[in-house]
């Protein structure tokens, strides 16, 4: 890792990268939907707020507090600017899960007298799905909309799902597994016409693709720092202040910070980092998205040009620039990860879980369990290079070929056996 910041390296680095023959460092990190490396420019901006400028942003009567408050307000502006909002509409939280909880529970409780119906989609993040499930126990009615084969919600389904008790639609901007980007503007328009609040979990999208809360009629949006090269443990929630003004019942009571919606002393260094990350994203997005989608397409073309029976999960058109999710038929995902253990990616297989259920997102697209078990998510980010992409492609191809030679399913398919018609002995496993 190279940074310009003059800090001593940590004593031990579990993930220390080793140089490899062709100049690239191993292991390669290509799991940028899970988290991203902090941008050195972000770290530099944060550092003074740990020691020199350590004040509490709520301290109103001395310069320590003023310096912290000033930094927090600058961050608010930077975040707001990235999504076309105003600074006063940004509330700081501890991250995406809290933002989703605050948005959904806060709206549900505030507007309960107006209605008790919430609409979401089956491919949402667990932070949204589990929050909705929690509300169901409290008497709310939740519609979990299916998605189409490409991962996108059907706007006609959404229209049909809405009734006079609907108070909230919560649909993510971009999916964390397959990167598909939902039709936010169309969903926002439908919600606005019917006077329904529209919340979007935008943690994967913000900083990667343009999100404009006014053009898209978004009322509440969840943001997190660590998905866009900012720090972990800090997030934000955009809450619309006018046309319409959205109000939330807080989850955390206390000193009345953040306009009463989120009490608790502000995480000033984290907030400074989140603000800086948003500023960088805004400046770099036009070039960066072209570069990253170019790398992503290069990876796809190399892999799919060499291997037959590989399938892309989710729409290729409506998709984050850095996401590629591929199923490699006849090869189990976890064994593939084991073969490419010098590359950090994720699998849709879940052979370690008690239920052995593969990704619910892939299943929602209609992908069979067998192909869901065979999927790999590549998340290309700001710090990936062309040389890394080429290395990853070569390693994936060589490992899939090796595992297919080992796969009874591949052998049967080559012999012309229709795997769907086989009566499998171990269905109970």
């Amino acid at each position: 890792m190279s940074t310009d910041v003059k800090t001593p390296p940590p004593a031990s680095q579990a993930t220390e990268q080793r140089p490899s023959a062709n100049g690239i460092k191993l292991p390669i990190y290509m799991d940028n939907h899970a988290t991203t490396q902090l941008d050195p420019r972000v770290l530099e901006e944060m550092l003074p707020y740990f020691m020199e400028k350590f004040g509490n942003a709520a301290s109103r009567n001395h310069p320590f507090g003023w310096a912290a408050e000033e930094a927090v307000e600058l961050s608010r502006e930077r975040i707001a600017k990235l999504i076309g909002a105003t600074a006063k509409e940004i509330i700081f939280t501890s991250g995406a899960t809290e933002s989703d909880n605050l948005a959904i529970k806060g709206v549900a409780e505030m507007y309960r007298e107006k209605g008790n119906h919430i609409i979401t989609a089956v491919t949402e993040h667990k932070a949204v799905l589990d929050t909705c499930k929690h509300l169901e126990k409290g008497g709310f009615r939740v519609t979990y909309m299916p998605v189409q084969k490409d991962g996108l919600v059907d706007l006609e389904d959404l229209k049909r799902a809405m009734d006079d008790k609907t108070i909230l639609v919560t649909i993510m901007a971009a999916n964390n597994e397959i990167g598909v980007v939902q039709p936010l503007a169309e969903i926002g328009k439908l919600c606005r016409e019917r006077g329904v609040i529209f919340h979007t979990d935008a943690v994967q999208a913000i900083g990667k693709i343009p999100v404009d809360v006014n053009k898209m009629n978004i009322d509440v949006a969840s943001i997190t720092g660590h998905k866009l090269y900012g720090p972990k443990g800090v997030g934000a929630l955009y809450v619309r202040r006018k046309n319409p003004r959205v109000q939330l019942v807080p989850l955390i009571d206390g000193g009345g910070h953040e306009r009463g919606m989120r009490s608790g002393t502000l995480n000033v260094p984290g907030i400074v980092g989140l603000g800086k990350a948003c500023e960088i994203a805004m400046q770099d997005m036009p070039q960066e998205s072209v570069k990253i989608s170019g790398l992503r397409d290069r990876l796809r073309d190399k892999i799919m040009g060499r291997l037959d029976e590989t399938y892309i999960n989710g729409s290729m058109e409506q998709r984050l620039p850095g996401n590629l999710n591929i199923s490699f038929a006849y090869v189990e995902g976890e064994s593939l990860l084991m073969g490419i253990n010098d590359i950090a990616v994720s699998s849709g297989s879940a052979c370690t879980s008690a239920t052995l259920e593969p990704s619910y997102v892939l299943k929602a697209l209609g992908t069979g369990d067998d192909l869901a078990h065979s999927s790999i998510r590549f998340g290309i980010g700001r710090f990936n290079t062309e040389a890394e992409v080429d290395y990853v492609a070569d390693r994936v191809i060589e490992t899939v070929e090796r595992l297919r030679e080992l796969s009874p399913l591949y052998e049967m398919a080559k012999e012309g056996v229709d795997l769907k018609s086989v009566k499998w002995a171990g269905e109970a496993h």
Partner: protein, 138 residues
């Protein structure tokens, strides 16, 4: 998750990968698991009909590293054993040898199932091909 050195060794250098002619009377084939569950094992044995000794074993596995290692180990262990000795192999021995964690025990169960299925298939073939001979012996 982290794997034991033995699992990694079997994954990187699987023993006895391949296929035998499943229509041959001396070959027993076991195919267990299901693609939907993320594990399918095919284990084949070639048995000497005179001695009931397993002279060769081959496998192919679709599954995680532990499933590959369990079936690879199973082929090593059955080779040279008689049918009865091979039937005595327990999944718990595979768990112990490969240091499988609790979430991977099903891989060893599947390997035991594969051994039994292969032997079962061979026995069925023996009965089908030699009914007269068996009767004559009584």
């Amino acid at each position: 998750m982290s794997y034991s050195d033995k699992v990694i060794d079997h994954y990187n250098h699987p023993r006895n990968v391949g296929s035998m002619d499943k229509s041959s009377a001396d070959v027993g084939t076991g195919l267990v698991g299901a693609p939907e569950c993320g594990d399918v094992m095919k284990l084949q044995i070639k048995v000497n009909p005179e001695t009931s000794v397993i002279e060769d074993a081959k496998f192919k596995t679709f599954g995680c590293g532990s499933a590959i290692a369990s079936s690879s180990l199973a082929t090593e262990w059955v080779k040279g054993k008689t049918i009865d000795e091979a039937l005595a192999i327990k999944n718990t021995e595979i768990v112990k040898e490969l240091a499988l964690p609790p979430v991977k025990i099903h891989c060893s169960v599947l390997a035991e199932d594969a051994i039994r299925a292969a032997i079962g298939d061979w026995k069925k073939k023996q009965e089908a091909t030699k009914p007269v001979a068996v009767q004559a012996a009584h």
